[in-house]
């Protein structure tokens, strides 16, 4: 076994451990946020096992995990057993495999150990030139898990839930892609670490350069991760569960972990594509020449940014009511896709004529690009707000009254 393999294995273990812990503790954070927003205190009882030490309820994920392990793994008699068991595996595998291409830091400084190549990039598959495509392809595999779960459950509610969710997930793939193509065009690469480096070099995060793309991408990513207000795959109260109605115990947990991983992926992508990844002005530097301080600072900055995005997701959950399904679709096709197309065209033109623009202004500066981009964003936003239902109004109109009972019955 070469050192390269060993290092890759270490990275995989670190990533998997980190992700699973993060997923478990984000459940706790989500419950805390839910409680605090509703003026409650939230979980604060379970602490260190077998002691009376409460420790702010940090033992709660452990208790939840134990409970899930001891729950009966029940499959109803009428389901298609094989597909029923495969569905959560598919969805979780895809959700985890995405992280192979996602950098969870920059590079480590030279270790100066015999045989160890340096620098070591904090990325499971370094130099993967199609990173973005890989991430995108795997994130759309979630649809298969949803459909499999709903279909194999052999239950009309699960099946309808699965159709609903897959329609949503597939629809929002399009604005997701449109939002991201702008970034890819501008960076000229599909490698996530290269996209971060490009932002770090120029010192201008993409969110300032293409706010419209950020908006479209963030909304679509929220929908892809099935977070509120787009959580129609789950919608536990009013839509009779979703595709995972028949699941229980560990298999349900796999679905839930996958959903949390999707949220973490969405946060990672938003931070990497639009908020400069590990870059922070005056703290983490730009190039690949790192000391231990900058290497660790980069990881911390990335983690803090991701946590902030995740917390925003959780706040949004308690801010907005859930969309109705037709509103959800109208949002995707009538608002997000046009806005994404505008962003795509503007970015394509700007990238094409960047040099000419720089010649006119006289400097290699990004300011003219940012200015044009913001003007276009505000213009497109106003047009969308005035002519398209950005706010989806569902007041009953006299026109749309179902029927006139007296005339209908006579």
């Amino acid at each position: 076994m070469t050192f390269e393999t060993i290092i890759t294995l270490i990275k995989i273990f670190l990533l998997l451990g980190g992700l699973m812990t993060a997923a478990a503790y984000l459940v706790l954070v989500e419950r805390w946020m839910a409680a605090w927003v509703q003026d409650r205190k939230g979980p604060n009882r379970v602490g260190i096992p077998l002691t009376k030490i409460k420790l702010f309820g940090l033992g709660q994920p452990l208790a939840d995990g134990l409970k899930f392990i001891f729950k009966e793994d029940f499959a109803p008699k009428h389901v298609d057993k094989a597909l029923f068991r495969i569905a959560p595996i598919v969805i979780l595998t895809a959700a985890i495999a995405i992280f192979a291409a996602i950098p969870f830091g920059s590079v480590l400084p030279p270790l100066e150990i015999e045989g160890v190549p340096d620098p070591i990039p904090l990325l499971v598959t370094p130099n993967l030139d199609v990173g973005m495509v890989y991430v995108f392809a795997l994130s759309s595999i979630a649809v298969y898990g949803v459909i499999l779960g709903g279909w194999s459950s052999n239950n009309k509610y699960s099946f309808l839930g699965a159709l609903r969710s897959s329609a949503q997930l597939i629809s929002y793939e399009i604005p997701l892609g449109l939002g991201l193509i702008g970034v890819v065009l501008f960076a000229g690469t599909l490698r996530l670490d290269a996209i971060i480096s490009q932002q770090a070099d120029s010192g201008v995060w993409n969110v300032f350069l293409q706010p419209l793309g950020f908006f479209v991408f963030a909304v679509a990513a929220t929908a892809e991760a099935a977070r509120l207000p787009f959580d129609l795959p789950e919608a536990e109260q009013e839509l009779i569960g979703g595709y995972h109605t028949e699941y229980s115990g560990m298999m349900l947990l796999l679905f839930l972990i996958a959903e949390f991983l999707h949220m973490i992926t969405a946060a990672f992508l938003i931070v990497i594509l639009f908020f400069g990844g590990w870059h922070f002005w005056g703290l983490t530097g730009a190039g690949d020449e790192v000391t231990w301080f900058t290497a660790i600072a980069r990881i911390v900055v990335l983690a803090v940014k991701i946590l902030l995005v995740v917390l925003t997701f959780m706040l949004v959950r308690w801010t907005w009511p859930r969309f109705r399904f037709d509103q959800l679709m109208a949002m995707a096709w009538k608002v997000m896709v046009p806005l994404g197309l505008v962003n795509l065209i503007v970015m394509a033109v700007l990238v094409e004529y960047q040099q000419d623009l720089a010649d006119i202004v006289g400097a290699e500066s990004l300011w003219p690009l940012i200015l044009i981009s913001w003007i276009v964003t505000i213009g497109a936003w106003i047009i969308a707000g005035l002519y398209a239902p950005l706010s989806t109004d569902n007041t009953p109109r006299p026109m749309s009254m179902p029927f006139d009972a007296e005339t209908e019955l006579n």
């Binding site: 946020m33 409680a35 605090w36 927003v37 509703q38 003026d39 409650r40 205190k41 604060n44 706040l315 949004v316 308690w318 801010t319 907005w320 936003w381 106003i382 707000g385 005035l386 950005l390 706010s391 109004d393 007041t395 006299p398 009254m401 006139d404 009972a405 007296e406």
Partner: protein, 177 residues
């Protein structure tokens, strides 16, 4: 119901202004409200450690007690009015001839099934001698079903527990002693 019924007045909700149609101001407004609650004061009570404040213990309907009279005897005269009034049929009284000269009957046994009780307070209303009362004890727990069936001794002990904090209502209301 018809959409054209003249008796129905359709209310139009106010039209969204420009900032409303731009969506973002409203979104930020909503997030701000949510965020305020995130850091605002909490209303939760950590129950076993913190006791809730009961507004007026005299009208709170908690665990029952059987009142005693001035000489320490049970006040109940076994008239069965409470058992008759009880909608949950959780009161069971066995009456016997009273050993005391001032009344004819007394309850030989008096049991309340607290698991069936709905704490409606009708027994308290029905009692002509104010013998049964509901206290403000709210944490009624037990480890078995048998433990939750309160007999006469237990109900009288509830009286001893609570009489200092909650005087008999009848004295305050001018009833019998």
């Amino acid at each position: 119901m018809s959409g054209t019924n003249p008796n129905i007045r359709w209310l139009e909700e106010p039209k969204l202004g420009l900032s409303g149609r731009m969506y973002l101001p409203l979104f930020v407004q909503g997030l701000t409200t949510t965020f305020k609650h995130l850091v605002g004061p909490k209303v939760t009570l950590s129950f076993p450690e913190e006791r809730p404040q009961i507004g007026n213990p005299l009208i709170y309907r908690g665990v029952h007690r059987l009142n005693k009279d001035g000489t320490g005897r049970v006040k109940c005269v076994a008239c069965f009015l409470c058992a008759t009034a009880c909608p949950a049929h959780c009161i069971d009284i066995v009456a016997a001839e009273s050993p005391w000269p001032d009344r004819e009957k007394y309850p030989e046994s008096f049991t309340i099934d607290e698991l069936r009780c709905i704490f409606c307070g009708m027994c308290e209303e029905a009692c002509p001698v104010d013998a049964i009362e509901l206290t403000s004890l709210l944490d009624l727990t037990g480890r078995s079903r048998e433990e939750m069936i309160f007999d006469k001794e237990k109900l009288l002990s509830v009286y001893d527990m609570t009489i200092d904090a909650e005087p008999m209502k009848s004295t305050a209301l001018g009833g019998t002693l």
